[in-house]
């Protein structure tokens, strides 16, 4: 009896959970793990995205170059110029220079003009141009850095392997032996690809020479248009709505419009740009000016919403004090409220610009994709009005090309685009930290 009682009391102890409580506690724990799991999955996606961008994009910043030093004498030059196939003669000199360099290291491989062409493309013309432009360099030791073909480049970056390579007129399996020997001799190596950052887009046949520079300039001009239109218009609209607008149906209409525009798909803005700016106003296609106008309309709601929040954060006592010492309503807003709200407005504007910089869909419709940006715009007006590409449009163009060596360029372009976005966001955060005021 007593024993039974004892056990019953023991089970009823507060520290001894019964079945039901155990189930509830287990459910509690499970629920907590669901939450942790969800966040981890989200962060995992972010990590996968980041690593694949960096891993796939980094090769775009290096390129394979062949650097050869050799001397061309006056006689050799004269002789070459007399030949029927002049560039062939120059190639011959390059080949013999490379062979002698290899021989110094006791490496023996068969190089002829054809192999050289497969590795480096048509180099004879480059050499000839150089010596015709600089005849004083004849007889001196000159170092040439020549870009290797995209397949050789791919061999170094692991895109092309001995197993997957099939002999073609672009690259033979035997050429890889030559490449290995050249690499051993230090003639062929990886170098930083400045051309990718400063260069312009190449045609579909030359992935190695493609650069993002021209489209960075295009994006820059677009952002100039967006900044110079959306900041004044957005601030003016927010000041009216926040400080002056009476409560009536008209103000409501404007507000409903703004909140709806903020959620309209970006491609619809592209249709608007196509119909109004190109079809109706006949502005030039593919021009950064048109792209900037479309993106302005798209960013305006974002800027208006953040500017209104910044104006709202300025306490009414500031306005009251200004009015109290005899300022007009307009003066109180422009002299006192606006300067205090400026940091918030600038932060919102930078974030809006960052959004606009990465936007692609509207640019597809106003023709910034079909255009190959082969050169920098010459001059300020041309920068706005001449066809150009923009960073995201350029990335899309590369991703849509059939040649898979352009994918590397697309990833590299994304790294540059994200670097710009990151910089803008960091500036916004610093501005907010530095000037944010708590009232």
């Amino acid at each position: 009896m007593a024993n039974q009682n004892m056990s019953k009391i023991k089970r009823k102890s507060l520290f001894d959970a019964d079945e039901h409580t155990k189930r509830r506690n287990a459910a509690e724990k499970r629920f907590r793990w669901y939450g942790i799991g969800a966040i981890s999955v989200g962060l995992l996606f972010l990590a996968v995205l980041a690593t694949s961008i960096i891993r796939e994009g980094a090769p775009a910043f290096t390129q394979t170059v062949v650097s050869v030093e050799f001397t061309l004498t006056q006689e050799q030059f004269d002789h070459a110029e007399k030949q029927l196939f002049k560039t062939k003669a120059y190639e011959g000199h390059l080949v013999s220079a490379m062979v002698s360099r290899l021989a110094e290291r006791n490496l023996k491989v068969a190089i002829d003009g054809k192999v050289l062409e497969r590795l480096l493309g048509k180099t004879g013309a480059t050499l000839r141009e150089f010596y015709r432009a600089n005849p004083d360099q004849l007889g001196n030791l000159v170092k040439f850095d020549l870009t290797a073909s995209s397949r050789v480049d791919g061999y170094f970056k692991g895109r092309v392997t001995r197993e997957t390579l099939q002999d073609s007129r672009f690259l033979m399996l035997s050429d890889l032996d030559v490449v290995d020997a050249l690499a051993n001799a230090g003639i062929i190596k990886q170098a930083f690809n400045w051309n990718f950052i400063t260069g312009t887009d190449s045609g579909v046949d030359n992935p190695g020479g493609a650069g993002i520079g021209a489209s960075v300039v295009g994006s820059f001009f677009m952002m100039l248009v967006v900044l110079s239109l959306s900041l004044p218009i957005g601030v003016a609209a927010s000041i009216y709505l926040e400080e002056f607008a009476p409560q009536n149906w008209f103000t409501d209409l404007i507000e409903v419009n703004i909140s709806n525009l903020a959620a309209v798909p970006s491609i619809v803005f592209g249709i608007l740009g196509l119909a109004v700016f190109i079809q109706f106003m006949h502005l030039p296609q593919s021009a950064p000016l048109v792209g900037g106008l479309v993106l302005t309309l798209m960013t305006l709601p974002t800027i208006i919403i953040s500017t209104r929040a910044a104006l709202k954060a300025v306490p009414p006592s500031i306005r009251d004090a200004a009015l109290g010492v005899g300022a007009s309503k307009m003066q109180s807003v422009f002299h006192h409220v606006l300067p205090l709200a400026m940091p918030g407005i600038l932060t919102g504007t930078i974030i809006g610009l960052a959004q606009a910089l990465g936007e692609t869909a509207p640019l597809l419709l106003i023709g910034m994709v079909g255009f190959v940006a082969r050169g920098y715009p010459d001059g300020l007006v041309a920068g706005f009005a001449d066809p150009n590409s923009a960073m995201p449009a350029q990335i899309y163009t590369w991703a849509a090309r059939a040649d898979s060596s352009f994918y590397e360029k697309a990833w590299g372009g994304i790294i540059i685009l994200l670097a710009f976005l990151l910089t803008m966001n960091i500036i916004a955060i610093i501005l907010r930290r530095k000037f944010e005021r708590r009232w």
Partner: protein
């Protein structure tokens, strides 16, 4: 660029007005006997505003109306028999406009001069235009050349007239402003009224944008339905546009596209809603401030990444990965997926993009649930998860539904991910491993690089845009209504 010059002249004139207005006010008050109503700066600003606003306003109106009037006049010059079968007045007009632009171009590059045009030899002129790089399709006919010349002369006359009238108006405003600068004149009030109207104009841009969207969609959609029956568009189950010039009738049924759009959005929501919602619950109810301050911004980074990045991620990383799992010779040993571009690829990546939308909106909404509800529940002995499931979620449900609807509208309007990740084939199928296409992807493929808006194949994009706009607008309105209603409930 004469327009640029005109605007520069107007700006300079108004700056001159500012200086004159201000200095007149200064001289008035110099001897100290006269008291001005406002600061001299306001007299200057008043003059500047009076100078520039009428001029710029006129230029804007003129630029909009002049092309309409010119094409009306030119259109009247074309006899009906000059319009060949299969063409339309609009096509001929755009041909005329192209020719006129081409003549401008040719004259500016010195390939063509007035003497050659006066000779009227059509072949020489065509060759000259082609040499200058103008886009001229065929040999120019007599009618088109005459109309183009008329178009040019009207255009030039209009431009000159616009410049003269605009400068005259600006000068008039300038003198008016200077004359007004008397001690009694309430310059500040005048300036402030002007500034206020400028502010109102700025806020009208939002309405104008919406109007522009609706008008450009509606007009082109009507044009499309004139060429293609509306019932076939809305109820057709086949999407097979023939490319212009190759002949054959296009089948432009929107149903497969809408199905693709919804299917991909649903897959995206299946990914995004559980992850986003559980993240929001954990962040707002369980996480310590430190975890919250790290995890929340990191998740929101996902929302700041441009969609082109997600598109490339889908095309080059996720697609091949999924093929290596579900494809032939894959990890699972099934061969369900043929290629990287599929509904599941686009849906999965779009889901990743939507996670932060769902999570931060739900986070706000869960935080808005009053603490008293939680306290009451704890007081009755509920565990934390029971409180979340039985008190907080039901209370926050309308808001969360609103957030999900907003995410759905995002998913429907998303373009780059589906253009790169979903494929181009329009089909009505239930298999998520097949390639399908969406409304947005087809808008892009029908309009990219196309400047000829006369064929149904190009115009259909506007009808698709209209469909998309209406769908997202309705979702947004419902979602915003629910969210706002919900916020008021606990305010």
């Amino acid at each position: 660029m004469p327009l640029l010059w005109l605007i520069t002249i107007l700006i300079i004139l108004s700056a001159v007005g500012f200086i004159f207005g201000r200095s007149k006010a200064w001289t008035l008050t110099k001897d100290g006997t006269v008291r001005l109503h406002s600061l001299p700066v306001y007299y200057g600003t008043n003059t500047a505003l009076k100078a520039i606003i009428p001029g710029v306003f006129l230029v804007v109106i003129w630029l909009i109306t002049q092309p309409l009037i010119v094409s009306n006049v030119v259109s009247g010059m074309i006899p009906s028999d000059a319009i060949s079968a299969g063409s339309s007045r609009g096509l001929v007009l755009s041909e005329i406009r192209r020719t006129a632009d081409g003549i401008d171009l040719a004259i500016s590059t010195n390939v063509l001069n007035d003497a050659i045009i006066a000779e009227g030899n059509l072949e020489t002129i065509t060759d000259a235009l082609k040499e200058a790089g103008a886009v001229v399709t065929s040999n120019i006919t007599e009618t088109i050349l005459d109309a183009a010349l008329e178009h040019r002369s009207l255009q030039t006359a209009g431009d000159v007239a616009m410049s003269i009238v605009a400068i005259a108006l600006t000068l008039g405003g300038l003198f008016w402003g200077i004359r007004e600068a008397t001690p009694d004149f309430r310059a500040r009030n005048s300036v402030e009224t002007g500034v206020k109207y400028l502010l109102i104009c700025a806020s009208l841009i939002a309405i104008l944008t919406t109007l522009g969207i609706i008008l450009s969609l509606v007009f082109n959609t009507i044009e499309f339905f004139r060429l293609y029956p509306a019932s076939d568009f809305f109820f057709g189950t086949e999407w097979a546009p023939s490319f212009s010039g190759r002949g054959g009738a296009s089948k432009l049924g929107v149903l497969p596209l809408i199905w693709g759009t919804f299917y991909i959005s649903i897959v995206a929501l299946i990914v995004a809603v559980p992850i986003g919602l559980f993240s929001a619950i954990y962040l707002s109810e369980y996480a310590s401030p430190r975890v919250r301050s790290i995890a929340k911004p990191l998740l929101e980074v996902l929302a700041g990444i441009p969609t082109i990045v997600y598109g490339l991620f889908a095309l080059l990383t996720v697609g091949p990965l999924l093929v290596s799992v579900f494809g032939e010779g894959g990890v699972l040993g099934v061969s369900w997926q043929g290629g990287g571009r599929a509904v599941i690829t686009a849906g999965l990546v779009m889901g990743i993009m939507l996670i932060p939308f769902v999570s931060s909106l739900s986070d706000d909404i869960i935080n808005a649930v009053p603490q008293s509800l939680r306290d009451g529940s704890y007081g009755l002995g509920a565990t934390q998860s029971e409180t979340v499931k039985q008190v907080i979620l039901p209370a926050a449900l309308p808001g969360i539904v609103g957030a999900i609807l907003l995410a759905a509208s995002r998913a429907i309007g998303e373009t780059m991910i589906v253009v790169l990740g979903a494929g181009a084939a329009a089909r009505l199928s239930l298999n998520p491993f097949e390639a399908m296409t969406t409304v947005t992807a087809k808008i892009v493929s029908q309009l990219t690089g196309d400047s000829d808006f006369a064929s149904p194949e190009a115009l259909v994009a506007f009808a698709l845009g209209m469909t998309l706009f209406v769908m997202t607008l309705m979702l947004n309105i419902v979602a915003l209504y629910i969210v706002r209603k919900y916020r008021e409930q606990y305010d």
